[in-house]
Symmetry: none
Subunit: 219 residues, 4 copies
DNA sequence: TATGAATGAGCATTCATTCAT
DNA sequence: CATGAATGAATGCTCATTCAT
């Protein structure tokens, strides 16, 4: 990835470290204040590096944002659990998946906030970052969908596929919505409670769908 | 509120008209590009009024944003249906409420987008607008909660109150989440479908809760 | 031209005056140091106006240069004498024309220097100013050519036209060359002496051409 | 001068080659865009060497310019023909001299352009390069003067000296002027035609001066 | 009720230059 | 001999804001 095979000289290692500090400062500031609200001089102050150095590492503010998004996405996707790590029983699996989602929101809040802020603020301005954000969202949705399909299969049979897609989208809506509410006023929003309700809601829906299917089969 | 009882002179009417144009331009621009990304000169260009005039009507950019939020909120709340306008039967009522919510998202997308963008982008910077936004969100939630209570009452009895609050919050999460998804990625997001699934989900939850209550009573 | 028909308010008059000061400062600085060598902050310092004001009056450094060239050209062309102001006798006329040229170099040295510096320095960068400069040079040459035709007519008859063009170009070469030499090292260059020699040279050429023509006629 | 007597090691040869590439890139860029308009990074890009290498070879941008001028001058002076290479008959000699001058303009246009651009642009800023340029111009003028004296001697006797200086200066004026005109406006400027007219002009002047001298002697 | 002109702080970016390797 | 990384001053330009008219 970013690290090279050969041993880095002290100077080069310093360069890598500088780059990291710039990316981190930018990610934090832009998540809080948006792209336009984050000045290069603010990034310079927060990262401790002179503005010239920022331009040595990244060719423009736009590209810097692009790099922040790309690398953040990579790290975030790696942090997600794959289907192989799920418990075998369906109930436990649902729990695990939603726990993972909630955990992700709690562990990478800054980065996920950044994705939303940037996507909203720069929709018509910066196609590159937006494309990257869309790709990421799609990937996340596909992972959840895959899990849903596995979970719903035993209960719903061949109808599992259709519902899995719907459920995955729905899960993301609740996740995004709760996440935003949490960031707008943390005091009156309980992320875990939201996820608990969502689990109950999905279970109820699945049960209802299964019942519909059975009654259809009975006739 | 903004309109005065007595007849306005031509001069005053012109002033009102200018004010309106500035507010509209600001709302549109800030919803698209955020607060920091919207310059006074851009507002001047879009509204057709010189920047000096903007400062005649509003004393600072910050206060201009405040006015945009306040007036937008007022107009939005007025557009929501009250409990008196609901059909008597519960199923029809749920339908009506969710239809109203979906309709609101579709008719005031720019303004609702603005609320979210500003709330996220300026959380730590501008307490005044943020407070106004929080108040608005709270009000909206309370209205939905009230409706939910009316709807759930016949089925759940005295447990209706607890669930109404949870359900209202959940409804807003889905609404916000779907709305954002729709703005990030209009092609793969279907607002109406999201609301349809939410209705089924809420109904399933309510039914399940009712069943729980009954089984508790049976014992 | 630049002045308006109606009376200017004090404020507007100040604006005109500011514009003038910016143009003058720019003309002087760019003539000495070239376009790239002249910073907006240097113009600000020299003109006494803040850099923001420069951008209120001119939309970019490029356009500011354009305005300096355009206005300078206008003033310079107005300072040139027309054919009607020449003495009737040929010898006196030649003298008058060259005197005018030399006078022009001495009275507008800064502006003419600017034209040359900009033309050399920015050949491939700024087509607008270069076009303006070329147009000016062409106009000047045409004026001189016209005068030459009038002067050479009595001596050379219908061959006057051909020679007039050549002589005009030649005159400008000497003028430019002497002017540049004067600006590179003023101590060893005598503008007036150069013009004196040019006059003798042109007279000698004209006489020679007349002799050729006569000898051709005699045969 | 630049080439060393002893065999260079591969390493040294590489250094010499790098130095050459930097000098060439600088000369070309500065001739086109002037000193201030040429950045070290542009030189680095054009020469293919990193900016650090430029500072290894030359201690500053100023000194780099100095080196470009010095070496260019040296090469240019070497390319000029000496008096020993002239044909014996006066007419042929004049022709040869002017041909050499015109050829020089055509073969070293970039370098001669550089001299003029730098001399004009940096008159008050950089005494070192300017002095070098003045010295070069003086040398060129003296060579031409020397040739003129040889040529005019047979015709004008002891008055040859006075005129030779005047004629040499005049020749340079026309050369510079035509050269500049050619660079500002290549389409409407014919260098060779200018030199042809100059030759006729000088011949006419010389003949006239001879006639004056004779008539003075007759009395 | 408006607005044209101005202002200086701040913006993103490039500059000439340095230096450890 | 050469260079990748860094640095902070300076660049052209935009910003929010002011104010005389």
């Amino acid at each position: 990835m970013t690290t090279d095979a050969r041993k880095l000289t002290r100077r080069e290692a310093l360069g890598v470290e500088s780059r990291r500090r710039i990316l981190d400062a930018t990610s934090a500031l832009m998540a809080e204040r948006g792209f336009a609200g984050t000045s290069i001089s603010a990034i310079s102050k927060r990262s401790g590096l002179p503005s010239g150095s920022i331009y040595w590492h990244f060719e423009s503010k736009e590209r810097l944002l692009g790099a922040v998004v790309e690398e953040g996405v990579e790290r975030w996707l790696e942090s997600l659990p794959g289907p192989e790590s799920l418990p075998a029983d369906p109930t436990g699996a649902v729990e695990a998946v939603l726990d993972a989602a909630a955990g992700s929101l709690e562990e990478h809040p800054q980065f996920l906030r950044l994705l939303i802020v940037i996507a909203l603020e720069r929709r018509e301005i910066d196609p590159a970052s937006l494309a990257s954000i869309r790709r990421t969202r799609l990937l996340a949705r596909q992972r959840i969908e895959e899990l849903m399909r596995v979970l719903l299969g035993p209960v719903l049979g061949d109808r599992a596929g259709d519902l899995a897609a719907e459920f995955a989208a729905f899960t993301l809506y609740v996740a995004d919505g709760a996440f935003i509410a949490h960031h707008i006023d943390p005091d009156t929003t309980d992320l875990r409670a939201a996820f608990h309700l969502m689990r109950r809601s999905l279970t109820a829906l699945a049960r209802e769908s299964a019942a519909e299917k059975d009654s259809a089969n009975d006739r």
